[in-house]
């Protein structure tokens, strides 16, 4: 199986999620070995995911947890209990 760049781009996400079947994986890897452009696309996409998973990208507001539990306490006190359904 020989792939051109456009086909490899279609499988970047599947590649990053380890979802490609063996034959396709081999073809993609073979292409990546010799193609700097596709390697760069892969790396940049992977870096977007690294950045996304960084806890500093999405931070909790200061005091969030305290306010949440305070409001929950009020809600729990105000109820007879969760409704059984």
């Amino acid at each position: 199986m020989k792939l051109d760049c456009k086909h490899v781009w279609e499988h970047i996400s599947g590649y990053l999620d380890h979802e490609l079947d063996p034959a396709l994986l081999e073809a993609v890897e073979k292409h990546l070995e010799s193609c700097e452009v596709c390697s760069a696309v892969l790396d940049s996409t992977r870096n977007v995911l690294v950045l996304t998973a960084d806890d500093r990208t999405y931070e909790l507001p200061v005091g969030y947890s305290e306010r949440l539990h305070e409001r929950l306490s009020a809600a729990i006190r105000g109820e007879t209990g969760p409704r059984h359904q």
Partner: protein
């Protein structure tokens, strides 16, 4: 560990429903971040996200009796959070939902072109330390149309698996994969320009490339 956690959760839920309502605090503690970030990434508004997270937890408490043990509690909670975020989007309290790619079909997977920047690879670790870049990413996520943003948030921010994401959104796994791929490629495209200035060419690479 996961099984143990689930058993423990099942037991907690049983006791809460039996009247030990204070235990609800303990039940949701591991998911405080999950719920807030899910809503924030959809709305990109701190006040709305915090209020939405509180409403989600209260709603979860009130409807705990309808939780079925065959689903994961976290997935159930995320579904409520997602609905809360959608409701707030509809109310138009936050930025109106509008995006150029909103009309694109889901199954045409490959009609975009990622931005190719061959000098991108070398410095990412340093670049990723930049605070501005994280803001750019949050903006880019916010600029995705809703159907892509939802999948991206659950898969890549919350790290739910394909099946959990599909269940939380009420779509099938294939659609999760297609939308996730598109979302990632759109984000790649959106973020590359901001990394460009941070990157330096690998020595020898440009000679090889442009020779």
């Amino acid at each position: 560990m996961k099984t143990a956690q689930r058993t423990n959760e099942g037991e907690l839920i049983r006791r809460i429903l039996a009247g030990e309502t204070e235990l609800f605090h303990e039940l949701i503690r591991p998911y405080e971040r999950l719920v807030y970030v899910t809503i924030f990434a959809i709305l990109k508004n701190e006040t709305e996200a915090e209020d939405g997270a509180q409403e989600t937890m209260i709603s979860a408490f009130r409807h705990l009796g309808s939780f079925r043990g065959d689903a994961k509690f976290s997935t159930w909670l995320v579904t409520i959070a997602m609905n809360e975020a959608r409701k707030r989007l509809r109310k138009g309290k936050v930025a109106a939902e509008d995006s150029l790619d909103a009309t694109l079909e889901d199954h045409d997977g490959g009609d975009y072109t990622p931005t190719v920047l061959t000098d991108w690879r070398e410095i990412p670790l340093e670049a990723l330390e930049k605070k501005e870049l994280r803001e750019k990413l949050r903006e880019a996520v916010m600029n995705l149309s809703e159907k892509y943003r939802e999948v991206f948030v659950l898969r890549d921010i919350e790290e739910l698996n394909q099946e959990e994401t599909a269940a939380a959104l009420g779509i099938n796994v294939t659609l999760v994969k297609v939308r996730l791929h598109r979302a990632r490629m759109m984000l790649q495209k959106a973020l590359v320009p901001y990394l460009k200035s941070e990157a330096t060419p690998r020595s020898g690479f440009f000679r090889r490339w442009f020779a």
